[in-house]
């Protein structure tokens, strides 16, 4: 029996389990208390002081996000004192915030801006502080001047992703958020997962804007093809006021075609190909007893393992991610079919992910002799591109992907969510090799009569736990699927940003439903049945894990001590010589 307490909020009485905060209690009454720093279970630090309330019998105004409801507590959430304090707080925040809303990437999608408008905050005196340098070193960009020190990014980076790249530095009015010594993210072991962007209430964190490069390609002479990741169609509609959970696949294809892409292809096609390659790699490793095999399609995750557990990269699947397989094939296989040279084909990919921008830029990603993927846009950037072009996604008629790289199976779309890669592989292998691979009703997998233990995790914090177990020898998994973002790509760092945590969770659920629906409605279930994939093998690659496959679709990873200049490796080196 839960211990209940009775509390009165703005005259309404209710009973809540003890330990419930006043903020949560108010929410139950439909009251939205403004807040800029709180993230349930992740960042409960009471720092922004926007959510202050008046409590009878208390002199000060406590922050409701960290105030547990107590028996007999009488709270007012919108008294004049409270509203004045919130307004003054906003004024103070704005006195340090650059007034650059017109050019800010988050304009009209900024929690601070909308709150300031709600409160009709007047122009406040500016506090002069030194401008801090911008970090534009990589796919994630930081403008510390816009930062309001809510520390959500710090909390997500530490609590959820276990990377702690960002932290609070200095003290008092000089406090700012950044990597150690305000290093560029490029030099700070950042995985570019982009989860920090998702929680930033203002425009202090954003992805590198590559829309101009896409316009340049579209207005140029080259043959420009686009690929779209499975998770985009689950969320793009949100940017155009469609209800969360609207599948916009057909409209998205139409919109891309209107933008002027010569071909609109689907990353699902190479997701099927990944299933084929990685599935066969798995069977080979089972035979060699060289396990566990860990998936490699999430570039944030790959960078994580390279940065933090370089000694374990040998467990990574050698398969490139679907994005990079696509790029390599578009400039070889497809170019040949279309009668073009690799140089004449340009590839743009639309990804729910900020780390994909980094992946496309990795030096080794030029199997075609050219940069395999030329430009990567996030879901948000695609929405901006469409708006610039005056295209209202909501009003378009459905269209179909182009052949051949637009065909896909139900398995491939599962890549858009956590657990999908493992499920797609198990499904495909069991259909393709029913005598060797069996999947039980409960999802358990048997290979050659022996159970294949499959573990699925998402978020880098979870990934770290698994890797620690692998290293300690306490992990008995044979096949591990890891995605960097909690819940997988539907929650990627490049997806539409949502303020409210509850709403964000609801949207994730809705996006996931789209994936399940698409899988359910697919004409073919397993990747091996994809006729375009079959054709690709027959006409170009030969068979899975063929030499040509290796050349185009597989890769290698940075290993321990490959970069002898980093302080860590120097430290390790000098230590080993000292011992």
């Amino acid at each position: 029996m839960e211990n209940m307490v009775n509390i009165v909020i703005d005259g309404e009485e209710l009973s809540v389990p003890s330990g419930t905060t006043v903020l949560e209690t108010a929410k139950k009454l439909g009251k939205k208390i403004p807040q800029l720093c709180f993230l349930k279970d992740i960042n409960e630090i009471g720092a922004c002081r926007m959510c202050v309330v008046e409590v009878e019998g208390r002199r000060n105004l406590p922050a409701s996000c960290v105030l547990p409801a107590e028996e007999g507590m009488v709270v007012r959430t919108n008294s004049p004192r409270v509203l004045n304090a919130r307004r003054m707080n906003l004024e103070l925040i704005l006195s340090l915030h650059p007034q650059e809303c017109l050019s800010c990437v988050r304009s009209q999608n900024c929690e601070l801006q909308s709150m300031s408008q709600q409160f009709r905050v007047e122009q406040t005196p500016r506090i002069d502080t030194d401008r801090l340098p911008l970090d534009v070193s990589g796919p994630i960009q930081r403008d510390p001047n816009k930062c309001i020190l809510c520390r959500r990014c710090v909390a997500v980076c530490e609590e959820v992703q276990s990377t702690s790249v960002l932290g609070a530095l200095e003290r008092g009015i000089d406090t700012h958020i950044g990597p150690a010594w305000s290093e560029a993210l490029d030099n700070a072991s950042c995985t570019y997962c982009g989860q920090c962007i998702q929680v930033c209430p203002v425009g202090a964190l954003s992805e590198r804007d590559d829309t101009a490069r896409v316009w340049e390609l579209l207005h140029g002479e080259d043959h420009v093809v686009v690929q779209v990741a499975p998770a985009i169609r689950t969320a793009l509609g949100e940017e155009f006021n469609l209800p969360p959970g609207t599948n916009v696949e057909g409209r998205m294809v139409a919109a891309l075609r209107q933008l002027g892409f010569d071909k609109v292809f689907d990353t699902n096609f190479t997701a099927d190909l990944t299933v084929m390659e990685e599935g066969h790699e798995l069977l080979a490793k089972v035979a060699d007893k060289n396990l566990p095999l860990i998936t490699s399609c999430s570039p944030g995750w790959v960078r994580f393992v390279e940065e933090y557990y370089p000694q374990l990269t040998r467990h990574l699947s050698s398969c490139k991610s679907p994005q990079q397989m696509f790029g390599a094939l578009a400039k070889t296989y497809y170019a040949e079919l279309a009668g073009l040279t690799a140089q004449q084909v340009k590839t743009v990919s639309i990804m729910p992910c900020t780390a994909k921008k980094y992946e496309a830029d990795r030096p080794e990603m030029q199997a075609s002799g050219q940069r395999d993927v030329d430009v990567v846009l996030t879901t948000r950037e695609l929405a901006a591109l469409l708006r610039q072009a005056g295209i209202d996604l909501a009003r378009l008629e459905d269209e179909e992907f182009d052949a051949p790289m637009g065909a896909s199976s139900g398995a491939s779309v599962l890549f858009g969510r956590s657990g999908g890669v493992a499920q797609a592989a198990a499904r495909t292998l069991s259909m393709a090799y029913p005598e060797r691979v069996k999947v039980g009703a409960d999802g358990s997998v048997m290979v050659d009569g022996k159970p294949l233990r499959v573990t699925v995790v998402s978020s880098l914090g979870e990934a770290r736990r698994i890797l620690e177990a692998v290293e300690a020898g306490t992990c008995d998994a044979d096949f591990i699927e890891i995605m960097a973002c909690p819940g997988g790509c539907i929650n990627g760092g490049g997806q539409p940003t949502v303020f409210d945590q509850d709403e964000r969770n609801e949207r994730l659920h809705a996006r996931r439903n789209v994936i399940e629906t698409l899988d359910g409605e697919a004409a073919i279930a397993g990747s091996h049945e994809n006729p375009a994939v079959q054709q690709l093998y027959a006409a170009f690659l030969g068979h899975p894990l063929s030499e040509k496959s290796h050349q185009l679709l597989h890769t290698h990873y940075r290993e321990e001590l490959e970069q002898p200049d980093s302080p860590e490796s120097k430290a390790i080196l000098s230590r080993s010589t000292a011992d």
Binding site: G46, N89, L92, I148, L149, A168, T175
Partner: protein, 595 residues
């Protein structure tokens, strides 16, 4: 057996006045006169009369020698220690009355004191556990372990009425009780020795002068709440305190007062020292815990309170040094004895650190409820240079000021709060008529803004805004509406800040506004600093009629801003004048005017 004992103060103040050299000289001369066997030299902690250092007390007579130079030592040895004649020249002479006092106990400074927390400081050699034991040290711990239940210990402390001496004045017994009520398991006892309040140095003196009393008290606290580990968090600015405390820990372990099976019982307890790293906010208890854990010293939201979830999430009590110093005497003499001292709601004594514009600076311990007048005039000997008393700041940057009108109010927790100030840790900064209260408010805001941890908006940005207004005022650029804006900001910061630092940061402004509003107004409306302190608002001129043309001012002026010919009136070139005031001091005929 020694026929005489000589106590040489080795408190931080006296050490900076070269008391160590005086001690060495004494030892050397005693050797030369071949009486080292007869006279024992003891280095003590702070005696309290910091501005009289180096000081020496010769027993058995208890003669108090002060402001000693190296050349004075031989005379004390030859005259006093060999011939038995007091050296009158080196005795204390009251600044106003010129009355000479021979014995330490007759000094007004000591006569009115009631020493509980400071019972041993300045009396014993802090580096000797034997001396502590000789003065009933570790008796209280013995009493507790010998026959009291943890509950009885807490009851005794509660009954004594002891309240936290670090600032808030929370009842110590209740705090211990909360932690004792928490489920059995790992618990911690913490001593807050992060004495950050500028102008307060009692914690430093106690740790430097009587470290064992803290060890004993913390062991008692550990027994009472069921903790086996304690931490003492000392400021990095106090290296001597750290050194002495560590030595004391080692001795206590050797004597079996710390470690396992203390005094043959099954009680285990040990202590560790943690050195701060320069952050005032770490005096706030949750910030202090974060710092001990190795993190940035940022406060945590409360609840949960440390007694429920403190260090590493475990139940923890945090008390200040002076609070702990009161614990062994309470156990030894009983709650009844203690509760008879002081006032109804503020039992016992309080140590004050008197500094600023006061004749007798130093540490004094008086019963709660002693008036400000007694402190400043009777014990402190009044204001130097016969200047007028203007205000006294209590509670440091978190407190407020008391004025002439408050001279007869009793100093206790609740009265001070009512007056818009607070007890704080007991710093008492006395200010004379030359002090500008707007500038003092600016000084404190500058301090809190600098020491704000930066976590919550109201404190981080609010104090910055308040400071910029105050800076405007003292530089003569005040605007209409500044006072009102200061007040709005002050109330906002008080109401919404995360921790005590922010919540109390505006106090110095509000209290000076309350008591000296006209000074603020003069800065804004008349562009005038009534105390003649704010440089931007004053100017120096030479009154031609008075000037005798001696040229002394021109010779002393560091910026060559005074021009003229001898025997004719000189004048000041305003553009060059840096308003340093040297000319005013040097002029033999008071021809320089400051406006």
């Amino acid at each position: 057996m020694y026929r005489a004992h000589v106590l040489v103060c080795a408190g931080a103040g006296c050490v900076s006045s070269r008391s160590r050299d005086v001690r060495d000289e004494l030892v050397k001369i005693l050797g030369e006169r071949d009486i080292s066997e007869e006279v024992r030299v003891i280095e003590t902690g702070c005696i309290g009369t910091c501005d009289l250092g180096p000081v020496m007390i010769v027993y058995p007579e208890g003669v108090f020698y002060q402001k000693l130079g190296l050349g004075d030592v031989a005379q004390i040895v030859d005259e006093h220690l060999i011939r038995g004649r007091v050296v009158e020249r080196l005795l204390y002479r009251a600044p106003l009355t010129e009355i000479v006092t021979e014995k330490m106990r007759d000094l007004e400074f000591f006569r009115r004191q009631y020493r509980i927390a400071l019972r041993n400081t300045g009396v014993i050699d802090p580096e000797s556990i034997e001396e502590y034991i000789a003065r009933d040290g570790y008796m209280a711990l013995g009493t507790v372990l010998d026959g009291m239940t943890p509950d009885q210990v807490i009851q005794e402390i509660t009954a004594s009425g002891l309240r936290g001496r670090g600032g808030g004045g929370f009842p110590t017994g209740r705090k211990w009780d909360f932690a004792a009520q928490a489920p059995v398991g790992q618990k911690y006892v913490v001593c807050n020795a992060d004495e950050g309040d500028p102008g307060a140095f009692m914690d430093r003196s106690i740790i430097e002068g009587d470290p064992h009393s803290i060890i004993e008290a913390m062991a008692i606290a550990g027994y009472a709440i069921g903790a086996d580990q304690g931490y003492v968090y000392v400021r990095a600015e106090y290296p001597l305190a750290v050194e002495r405390f560590q030595l004391a820990l080692q001795q206590a372990r050797e004597y079996g007062f710390l470690g396992s099976a203390i005094l043959g019982t099954d009680f285990h307890f040990d202590l560790d020292v943690r050195v701060g790293a320069g952050a005032f906010v770490c005096g706030e208890e949750t910030a202090l815990l974060n710092s001990i854990e190795g993190n940035r010293g940022e406060p945590r939201p409360r609840p949960p309170f440390p007694a429920v979830a403190g260090l590493w999430g475990r139940p923890t009590i945090i008390n200040n040094v002076e609070t702990y110093a009161n614990v062994p005497p309470i156990i030894q003499h009983g709650a009844k004895w203690f509760s008879k001292i002081g006032t109804e709601a503020s039992r016992g004594t309080k140590v004050f650190a008197m500094a600023g514009n006061i004749n007798n600076t130093g540490l004094v311990e008086v019963p709660m409820g002693t008036t400000l007048r007694e402190l400043i005039y009777d014990i402190g000997g009044g204001i130097p240079g016969n200047k007028r008393f203007k205000a006294a700041q209590t509670g440091g940057p978190s407190g407020g000021c008391l004025t002439e009108d408050h001279l007869d109010t009793p100093m206790d927790y609740d009265t001070l709060l009512e007056l818009g100030s607070m007890m704080g840790s007991g710093g008492l900064i006395v200010m004379d008529e030359d002090t500008c209260m707007v500038d003092i408010a600016r000084f404190f805001l500058d301090f809190t803004r600098d020491e704000s941890c930066g976590k919550c908006n109201p404190c981080r940005i609010g104090t910055t805004r308040m400071l910029s207004i105050l800076e405007r005022l003292v530089s003569g650029e005040g605007q209409q509406g500044d006072i009102e804006e200061l007040e709005d900001l002050a109330v906002f910061i008080q109401e919404t800040s995360l921790c005590g630092l922010g919540q109390s940061a505006p106090n110095p402004v509000l209290s000076t506004l309350k008591n000296f509003r006209s000074e603020y107004e003069a800065h804004i409306r008349e562009r005038r600093c009534p105390a003649g302190h704010c440089r931007a608002l004053i100017s120096y001129t030479i009154v031609a009629e008075t000037c005798i043309g001696c040229g002394i001012c021109a010779r002393h002026c560091p910026s060559n801003a005074i021009v003229g010919e001898r025997r004719n009136p000189y004048s000041i070139v305003t553009e060059l004048c840096t308003k340093c005031g040297v000319c005013l001091q040097e002029c033999p005929v008071q021809a320089i005017q400051k406006r």
